[in-house]
Every structure is written in structure tokens, then in C-alpha cells.
């Protein structure tokens, strides 16, 4: 929720929806022609702000709605009716293979922690969501956390029907307390845009929030390791320095401005419009659950747990990479 309100407030601060009568930056006081011109200018500025408020207000409201988690937005019927389409995409284009879904506990909430690949289109999530929905049935509540910008995009409305909610600790805790399975990608935008030569590397950038979440909710962590997503485009650089220069990290919580070679743009900067993913084979393996308190005690050192989780995931990713004979083909 904090993310939603922050973004909406930020938008208001930029003039959207803010139409009080306080003197704006164009207000100049003084007599004569200059004063009259200044008065006209100030009036025009206020009118402009009012119009901007009327136009942008609904947009901001819509944005706020999208970023507010309503777990009831998940629509099992919609997911079920779209299973064939997802199945076609996952089977024919990505030749998806998800192994050991039986490692996911069936009768309790669970935190699924994945490595993230494939840019903004995240083909590994498409393949895994399909596999999860068919294995456990669309009736089992299953949510995924996503970056605000993903939910604010035109695809956001569809993703909400699949159970995608804006990433925040509160949303995650709420989902787990409601008994759902929750998929998180701690590496987020940092990991998903890593260069293609790091495709067989788990990189959570030291983010350990998922450990606190699992402890707070008292649920096991189930690591989900995927390979192939980073071959769906030629990711060249995260562009983290450029993102810092443009202030994207402060304004949009974006640590990166990725640069890749992707269809149909050839050079794709930012990946805001998405791209046509190359048909790389996606293989996903679900590892046995990690019960933090059982394995590391009631008050574990988060650093130790983080090292353990990332190590078992990296080992699995290494073995999946060793299985892979050719890029794309798998």
C-alpha cells in the first residue's frame, strides 16, 4: 500500500490532481502592465493546473486502483478459460518443462522464491504459472508480486486476474495469512535484466526481505529455479548508471534502464514496450521446502539463511545449465 500511495502522491506533487489556490511559481505581484501580464499568466497557470487536474486525476485514481492489492481480483474462471492459450505459448514457443511441483506443500500457505529472467516479459513466470495452475488447479489461491510499473502497464489488468499484486511486504503477508501460495522474485528488476552472459547466475542483489516475510508468516520457502528466460533476448547491460543519472531509482523505484538487442526494435532501451521473445526452452525445477525455524532456529541470522537459499538455488541452476547443450534449443 505504501508504494501505491507514494506513487499517487508523487503524481499529485507533479501537478496531477493538485488544484488548490496557493500561489504557484508563476505568481508575480506588482502594479501596471507587468502586474496585469503577471495576473493573466497566473490565471492561465491556474487554469492549466485545473485542466491537468481534471485530465490526470482519473489517470492517477486508476493508477492508484491498480496498485492497491485487491486479492479478490484474482479470477479462477478467467485463468481456467485462458489455460489453453497459455499452454500453447508455453508448450510451443518456450517448450516449457516444470519439474518436481510435488515439492510444493499442498495444504498450507507457501512462499515460492524464484530467480527471475527474461526482461519485462518474464517467460519463466508464464511457464510456472501455467504449470502451477494445472497441477494444483485454478482453485488454489496463488499470487505473484510484481513491480508497480508492471501493474501500471496496459497488461496490469490482465495480470491482476492471474493474481499479480504490487510488491510490498504488507501485500505479501496478507496473501500468506489468507492461506495462499505466493511467488516472489527477490532479484526483481535487477536480476531480470542481467546481461546474457550471467544467465546461469542467481543474483538477488542482497535483498533479504523474503526471509523476514517467511518468518513473519511462519511459512516454508520453496525455491523455484529457472533457466532459459535470459536467452529470450540478448541482454547487454542493466543500464543501472543511466537509471541513476535519470533519477529513475528515486522516481519510479527502477534500479535499471536495460539495454538489449531484441525483436522488433533491434536496440531495445528500457524494454518499456516489451519485445518479441526468442523461442528459448524454459526449464524450471522446484526444490524441496526450506523451513527456516526448523533448520536455523527461532531467531536465525538472515545472512546465513540468505546464503543457504541462494546457494541451493545456484547449485540447481548450475546443474540445469550443465544439462543445456545449446542456447535457445536447450
Amino acid at each position: 500500500m505504501a508504494d501505491a500511495s507514494t506513487l499517487a502522491e508523487r503524481a499529485r506533487g507533479n501537478g496531477a490532481g493538485d488544484h488548490d489556490d496557493s500561489p504557484g511559481p508563476f505568481t508575480v505581484s506588482g502594479p501596471g502592465v507587468l502586474g496585469a501580464l503577471a495576473g493573466i499568466g497566473a490565471g492561465a497557470a491556474r487554469a492549466g493546473q485545473a485542466i491537468a487536474g481534471r485530465v490526470a486525476g482519473p489517470v492517477v485514481e486508476g493508477l492508484r486502483d491498480r496498485l492497491t492489492a485487491d486479492f479478490d481480483d484474482r479470477d479462477p474462471d478467467y485463468i481456467r478459460e485462458n489455460l489453453p492459450l497459455t499452454w500453447l505459448l508455453a508448450s510451443l514457443w518456450f517448450r516449457g518443462e516444470v519439474r518436481n511441483l510435488g515439492n510444493v506443500p499442498e495444504d498450507r500457505p507457501v512462499l515460492l522464491v524464484g530467480n527471475h529472467s527474461g526482461g519485462n516479459l518474464t517467460p519463466d513466470t508464464i511457464v510456472f504459472t501455467l504449470a502451477f495452475s494445472t497441477y494444483f488447479g485454478v482453485e488454489r489461491p496463488f499470487y505473484q508480486l510484481a513491480h508497480n510499473l508492471v501493474l501500471a502497464s496496459p497488461a496490469g489488468q490482465i495480470l491482476r486476474k492471474y493474481g499479480t499484486v504490487a510488491a510490498s511486504h504488507e501485500h505479501a503477508k496478507e496473501a500468506l495469512e489468507a492461506g495462499a501460495a505466493l511467488l516472489v522474485y527477490p532479484g526483481g528488476d535487477w536480476e531480470v535484466h542481467r546481461p546474457f552472459w550471467e544467465s546461469d547466475r542467481v543474483d538477488f542483489a542482497g535483498r533479504k526481505g523474503f526471509i523476514r516475510l517467511a518468518l513473519d508468516a511462519g511459512v516454508p520457502i520453496v525455491p523455484v529455479v529457472s533457466i532459459g528466460g535470459q536467452e529470450t533476448s540478448l541482454f547487454l547491460s542493466r543500464g543501472d548508471r543511466i537509471a541513476r543519472v535519470f533519477g529513475l531509482d528515486r522516481t519510479l523505484r527502477l534500479k535499471v534502464l536495460p539495454i538489449s538487442l531484441a525483436l522488433p526494435w533491434v536496440i531495445n532501451i528500457g524494454d518499456f514496450l516489451g519485445h518479441v521473445p526468442l523461442p528459448a526452452k524454459i526449464t524450471t525445477e522446484v526444490l524441496p521446502p526450506i523451513n527456516i525455524t526448523e533448520q536455523f532456529g527461532e531467531d536465525p541470522d538472515h545472512e546465513v539463511v540468505y546464503e543457504h537459499v541462494t546457494r541451493v538455488m545456484q547449485e540447481c541452476l548450475d546443474s540445469l545449465a550443465a544439462e543445456r547443450r545449446y542456447p535457445l534449443i536447450g
Binding site: 481456467r80 478459460e81 489453453p84 499452454w87 500453447l88 508455453a90 517448450r95 504449470a131 494445472t134
Partner: protein, 161 residues
């Protein structure tokens, strides 16, 4: 989409039926099936429910099924309760003494899936047909093997007596 395959087995109708009626056998002979376990109190027969999954393409599809028809030695049919819509039927018919014809029919789809649903049904059909064919071949092999074992056992018992 409806698929069907049949095979002739050199075994009695009763033996084939008994093999099909035992849920623990399904993981041994049903090709592509990754799960077939009772869900509920009834283990077999009319009204018995199972959680079943079959691997097709990128996913294991299936769900909860229930046997809605059970005519001993001849017909048993199931329908889906949750998951992908499906209906299946075993038809067991005696064609001669100790020769039995077994037919497996399988219909599947997702109601409301539109064009993508129709396309997916057709794309999945070859893989599912292969699974059905292989399942019947494995059923034949296992039941005939069972038949030989039981005959050998009878012979041993007769010679011992």
C-alpha cells in the same frame, strides 16, 4: 476433442476388468500419467474420486475426476469435477474365449476457451493419442503377463497336489 484407441488382449474379460478396477495399477500402465490417487473414502467403484494428472506439453493437466458409470466387467466411465474438462471410458468386451477387446475413449477441452481452446485441443491431440496407444500396449503387456503368472501358479499348485 474426442480420441479413442483399442486393443485385443489375450486374457479373460474378468482379469482385464480386475486390473482396470485397481487404482494402484494406473501409474504402472497409463502413459504420461503422473498422478492417480484416490481422493475420498471410496477407493474404487461408482462414485470413487481420484486426483489425476497427465503430462501434455508444458504442463501436467487433469484435476479431480469421479467415476460416474460402473458396469462390472464391461464399462466404466469418469468425468472431471475440477480442472480441465474431461471424460474417459473403458469398454471391455469379450471377443472369444480368453480374448478381450479393450477400448479407451478420452474426450477433453476447456469450456469457454474459444479459438485458443480449439487450437490447443488439436495441438495436444497427437501427444494424447500416443499416450492412449502406449497405455493400451502397456495394459496388454501387463495383463497378459499377469495371466501367464496366474496360469503358472495354477499349474504348480496342480502338480504339487
Amino acid at each position: 476433442m474426442r480420441l479413442g484407441e483399442s486393443i485385443e488382449i489375450t486374457a479373460s474379460q474378468q482379469l482385464v476388468w480386475d486390473y482396470l478396477a485397481e487404482p494402484t495399477n494406473y501409474l504402472h500402465f497409463m502413459s504420461g500419467v503422473t498422478r492417480w490417487e484416490p481422493a475420498g473414502d471410496r477407493r474404487s467403484g461408482l462414485g470413487a474420486r481420484y486426483r489425476m494428472l497427465i503430462r501434455v506439453g508444458a504442463a501436467e493437466v487433469g484435476g479431480l475426476i469421479e467415476f460416474v458409470e460402473w458396469r462390472p466387467c464391461t464399462d466404466m466411465a469418469w468425468t472431471s469435477v475440477t480442472g480441465v474438462d474431461q471424460r474417459g471410458r473403458w469398454r471391455v468386451r469379450e471377443v472369444a474365449s480368453r480374448r478381450t477387446r479393450v477400448e479407451l475413449r478420452y474426450a477433453y477441452g476447456v469450456a469457454g476457451a474459444g479459438v485458443a481452446g480449439l487450437l490447443a485441443e488439436r495441438v495436444a491431440a497427437p501427444a494424447l493419442s500416443r499416450h492412449l496407444r502406449r497405455s493400451l500396449q502397456q495394459l496388454k503387456r501387463q495383463v497378459e503377463h499377469e495371466q501367464l503368472r496366474s496360469e503358472a501358479k495354477r499349474r504348480r499348485e496342480a502338480s504339487a497336489a
